[in-house]
């Protein structure tokens, strides 16, 4: 699956992406002139200080928001030219998320949380699939627990199960260990990378955890909304 044929396997192409917002203090440039490409199956770390624009960039790549200028091409679709619903459809079929603050739905238990995106896109066998993946992650006896009954690490496991359950081609993770202690964080990361291996997902990871970044193939560094370096990581 790592047979490179760059042209064919180009997944993301960002060209001169800008994001400018108007705030009460005036125009604010959050991202300026970002360009890079990502191939299918890569694992990318986007790093940078807090406020550098990492989450904003992630949001734009996932089509959650529109850039003020530039092009974002995902699987030959120019996200900039699509409307909200068309972008949503692309997400439904291609994209999974893991968030810093887990974003589990408090009124649903673990398995229902994992089933949620599956049901949303009308997939069959949601419960079976969810239960399988939770079991695979060693969460068997937690399936009927509600988020408030779970520890931070367990919550994030559920969130990861939820992200992988839909078999996305791209997984976005925004500081997935930001709310966890070092040990749990490491554990979570290992789980994530293991799952990534088996499902050959493209992983785009926002983090300022050096160790985490080093597990990726490539590191993109943002500073004050600008791309300052984009390099392969030597292992």
């Amino acid at each position: 699956m790592n047979s490179f044929s760059p042209k064919k396997d180009s997944l993301f192409k960002l060209k001169n992406v800008n994001k400018i917002v108007t705030s009460p203090e005036g125009m604010l440039t959050i991202l300026s002139d970002i360009s890079f490409e990502i191939s299918r199956g890569e694992t990318i770390a986007i790093v940078g200080a807090s406020g550098a624009g990492k989450s904003t960039l992630l949001g734009l790549m996932a089509g959650l928001d529109k850039p003020s200028g530039g092009e974002i091409i995902l699987n030959n679709n120019n996200l900039v030219a699509l409307n909200e619903d068309q972008r949503a459809e692309i997400r439904a079929n291609n994209i999974g998320f893991v968030f810093q603050s887990f974003h589990l739905i408090p009124s649903l238990n673990a398995i229902e949380n994992v089933m949620f995106p599956l049901e949303l896109s009308g997939k069959e066998n949601a419960r079976h699939r969810a239960s399988e993946i939770l079991q695979g992650m060693g969460m068997k006896d937690r399936v009927t627990h509600y988020p408030h009954q779970l520890s931070g690490g367990e919550k994030q496991r559920v969130a990861i199960a939820r992200a992988f359950a839909g078999e996305p081609s791209v997984l976005f993770a925004d500081e997935p260990t930001g709310n966890l202690d070092a040990k749990t964080g490491k554990n979570i990361i290992e789980t994530m990378f293991a799952l990534n291996k088996t499902s050959s997902t493209t992983l785009i990871l926002v983090t300022h955890d050096k160790k985490l970044a080093e597990m990726c193939d490539r590191e993109i560094l943002l500073e004050a909304g600008k791309l300052v370096s984009d390099k392969a990581i030597q292992k």
Binding site: S55, G59, D65, E84, D85, A88, L108, P117, H148
Partner: protein, 829 residues
């Protein structure tokens, strides 16, 4: 299909979550209070109407100058209705030594169909109700006739060709109205004995009545049937035209009940709006999440709408259940008070609940839900991405329209509706701007947040528009409750006043000019207030603007009846102070010109006459024509002699007039009465006490009913207020936990919380108290036509209850958060 499946799954899984339960409760409460108040209102109106039926002694009466054709009776009987007939006419009766004028009322065996006749065995013994009519050779007679004829119970009197034994004193009959025609002393007689008297001959002036009673709808269809059959000279009356006095009270009561319905709907709307806001705020994360997983906007919106529908269904279900329960309890408690054989609540009640939910939900929740569906998926990455709220104008307009539609369905009273809806709109705009103003100015306290109360006040500003919206919600709920309180107080006071001590309880009739002085003396000598003597002249109207009254076409049937009957005319220099000119002018006190006449409003309307029209009367063989110079509104509650037609003095002065007078005699002060009756046997003394008692009873019932409905609405309103406060608590709960986590003392957290609530409560309270005073004044004077007295203490009470309730509920709602260790709150967030 997928949407519905997903939405219902989501609904059933999330039914447990707080915001869904709150929203269901808000709807349930709205439905419950609407159904219960609606049902109570229905029941009370019906029961009041039944009581009013007593005034007719039936549910329906047909009066005619011709004998009632037996076909009319047969028709009624075949429909399963109860019938009774009566004939009444004036005649002279004789005892062995005296004679007197009396009105004979001959009735058939089932009379009265509604209410009861009460008699006494002699002047001094107690009265008791009877379920029969006099035997064939007996009569029951008014007390005053005993004096007039100088006889005792048991003596015999002759009426026409027959001899009768006066077997009892007639104390009360349900249909003794206060019309002057029926104020001559009455003799109740068995209709079987009438033919033998030989008094009914061609040309005798007899009133024939057919009384009908039975199931409402059957009576109604009989009435419709008869309307096409009866000749012009006959007239159908139902209780609504039986007595203007009780009518006014009943109408006011109905208006008040309408007001409570409006206010319940209003409160429900606020509750739904506030809980929808809470629903929205708690669901934004969820919507952002759905969108990040690829849900399209339509799907999200549909999911929300379907869930809302389910919430609505569950809410309506529980609300109706609760409403039924409350109805059951209330009507059990009230069986004594109200007639018990009223229709049970049924499908209709449920329909009302559903209709209300169907209109209120979208009207008050939709803008929040639209906003919710606009949540940007970016929120999953950055917490402070909030969907932009729809404009207040749009929100307000949608709410206003749905409210008006619903209210119009319930309450067809346009004046009441427009006063309230426009008043409330103005008040909510003012509340909103006051809130925004406070948010601006209190922000300046932020700098010196050393003291906890300052921190609390600065919070008002920090929440900005949210604070303004809270002030609007609290303020409107308070306004509604205060308005209801104010009107209720006014109404009860007014009724107490109208029927209080000193209301005339006797009429003197048929006073000759020469007797005026003597009567005055007797009354003055016994400390009774010297009465006014009002002239009364009997006449017949012959022409209106030169057109014969018999041929004229009238806008209302009642107009024809009024024009064709024997009229009681009066004349005066000054207008009765209980009347009010609504068109034209009253003549100068020393007016000496051509004849003028002032006519009562409803009579003018029904006869289709206006200022400047000529009315011609035949009085004692002479024709006189007078021009209408004013139209009057008459306060029939005043119990003073009132007339449809009052002439300028010069116009009628020369005609033979008798006088009537009303006076108040304390209960038990029978000395004056006896003296009057012995010295002036030809003057009829009519005891109004039984009628007054009847009116009093009706009004008392209405008052109690109003209190109950008021109380219920009050409880509902306070609950709304509580849930409105509660719906704002999530954020504060988290904050106070945070404050405590960083070391603020429990007491100081509480102070800061309470100062924030006090500021909001004060703002809401001041505007609500002021706004509701103005609204109450408008409603009191325009609708209830009572003088509104601004009550400073109520105003102050309004403000303090505003602060008290908001603070109290704020404390209750956040107590748990303040009491429990902050970590619990922070963990759960």
């Amino acid at each position: 299909m997928n949407t519905i499946r997903f939405a219902s799954k989501a609904f059933f899984r999330q039914v447990r979550s707080g915001e869904v339960i709150v929203m269901i409760s808000a709807i349930a409460m709205a439905v419950a209070s609407l159904t219960a108040v609606g049902f109570l209102t229905d029941r009370i109106s019906l029961s009041i109407e039944k009581q009013a039926n007593e005034l007719l002694a039936a549910d329906l009466r047909i009066r005619s100058p011709e004998p009632i054709p037996s076909g009319w009776v047969d028709e009624a009987s075949s429909m399963g209705l109860d019938t009774a007939i009566s004939q009444s006419f004036p005649t002279v009766i004789y005892s062995s030594e005296n004679s007197g004028l009396a009105r004979i009322k001959a009735v058939s065996s089932k009379y009265p169909l509604r209410g009861q006749v009460r008699i006494a065995n002699d002047q001094l013994s107690d009265e008791y109700p009877v379920k029969k009519i006099p035997n064939e050779n007996e009569i029951w007679l008014d007390e005053s006739l005993l004096y007039r004829l100088n006889i005792e119970v048991g003596d015999s009197i002759s009426i026409g060709n027959s001899e009768f034994t006066a077997s009892a004193v007639l104390k009360y009959r349900p249909d003794q109205s206060i019309g002057f025609a029926s104020l001559s002393p009455t003799i109740l007689m068995n209709i079987e004995s009438l033919p033998a008297t030989g008094l009914i001959t061609q040309g005798s002036r007899v009133n024939y009545s057919l009384l009908i009673a039975g199931e409402d709808d059957v009576v109604e269809s009989y009435s419709q049937l008869m309307e096409d059959i009866i000749p012009n000279s006959a007239r159908i009356s139902d209780p609504s035209d039986s007595s203007e006095r009780t009518n006014q009270a009943i109408n006011r009561a109905k208006q008040f009940l309408s007001l409570t319905i409006i206010i319940s709907v209003f409160l429900s709307g606020i509750a739904i709006a506030m809980s929808a806001r809470r629903f929205m705020k708690k669901r934004m994360d969820m919507v952002a999440l759905m969108k990040s997983f690829g849900a399209q906007k339509r799907f999200v919106l549909n999911t929300i709408v379907i869930q809302l529908g389910m919430i609505g269904v569950v809410g309506v279900f529980f609300g109706s259940l609760f409403g039924f329960l409350v109805e059951g309890i209330i009507s059990n408690l009230l069986t004594d008070l109200f007639v018990s054989d009223l229709p049970k609540p049924g499908f209709k009640t449920l329909m009302i609940g559903m209709l209300a939910a169907l209109i209120l939900l979208p009207g008050f929740a939709f803008s929040s839900l639209l906003q919710l569906s606009n949540t940007s998926p970016m929120r999953v990455l950055r917490k402070n991405v909030n969907p932009s709220p729809p404009s207040e104008i749009i929100v307000g307009t949608i709410a206003l329209i749905s409210l008006s539609v619903l209210l119009y369905y319930f309450v067809r009273d346009i004046t009441l509706l427009s006063i309230i809806v426009s008043g409330m709109s103005v008040i909510s705009v003012l509340l909103f701007y006051l809130g925004q103003f406070m948010a601006k100015t209190l922000g300046q306290l932020r700098g010196g947040a050393g003291a906890s109360w300052r921190y609390g006040l600065a919070n008002v500003s920090r929440r900005g528009k949210d604070s303004a919206i809270q002030i609007v919600a609290f303020g409107l709920a308070l306004t509604a409750l205060l308005l209801l309180t104010f009107i209720r107080t006014d109404l009860l006071t007014e009724w107490k006043k109208a029927l209080g001590e000193g209301t005339p309880n006797y009429f003197l009739i048929n006073i000759q000019p020469s007797q005026k002085e003597g009567i005055k003396e007797i009354l003055e000598s016994s400390d009774s207030v010297a009465p006014d003597f009002v002239p009364l002249i009997r006449a017949r109207m012959t022409e209106i603007n030169g057109e014969s009254v018999q041929e004229r076409v009238y806008p209302e049937e009642r107009g024809s009846w009024l024009a064709n009957r024997e009229a009681n005319l009066s004349f005066a220099k000054k207008m009765n102070p209980n009347n009010k000119i609504i068109d034209g002018t009253w003549w100068e006190e020393n007016y000496d010109g051509s004849p003028l006449v002032s006519i009562e409003e409803s009579a003018a309307d029904d006869m289709g006459v206006k200022i400047g029209d000529d009315l011609t009367f035949l009085i004692a063989g002479e024709k006189i024509t007078a021009k209408i110079s004013s139209i009057r509104e008459v306060d029939w509650n005043s119990f003073s002699p009132n007339f449809f037609l009052v002439f300028s003095e010069r116009a009628l002065e020369s005609f033979p007039a008798s006088f009537i007078s009303s006076m108040y005699i304390e209960e038990g002060d029978t000395g004056v009465l006896r003296e009057l009756q012995i010295n002036y046997p030809t003057v009829s003394v009519v005891d109004l006490d039984p009628i007054l008692e009847q009116v009093r009873q009706i009004i008392e019932k209405i008052s109690i009913a109003i209190q109950i409905v008021f109380l219920f609405t009050l409880i509902a309103g306070v609950t709304v207020l509580f849930s409105a406060v509660h719906s704002t608590i999530d954020e504060r709960r988290f904050e106070s936990a945070l404050l405590r986590a960083v070391g603020m003392k429990k007491k100081n957290v509480l102070i800061s919380l309470l100062s924030e609530f006090s500021a909001i409560g004060l703002a809401a309270g001041v505007l609500a108290a002021t706004g509701s005073s103005i609204l109450a004044w408008q409603i009191a004077s325009r609708l209830f036509e009572i003088t509104y007295i601004f009550n400073l203490s109520l105003w102050v009470l309004g403000i303090s209850s505003g602060i008290g309730l908001v603070c109290g509920f704020g404390y209750l709602a956040s107590r748990k958060a303040i009491e429990s260790p902050p970590i619990n709150v922070l963990r759960n967030n």
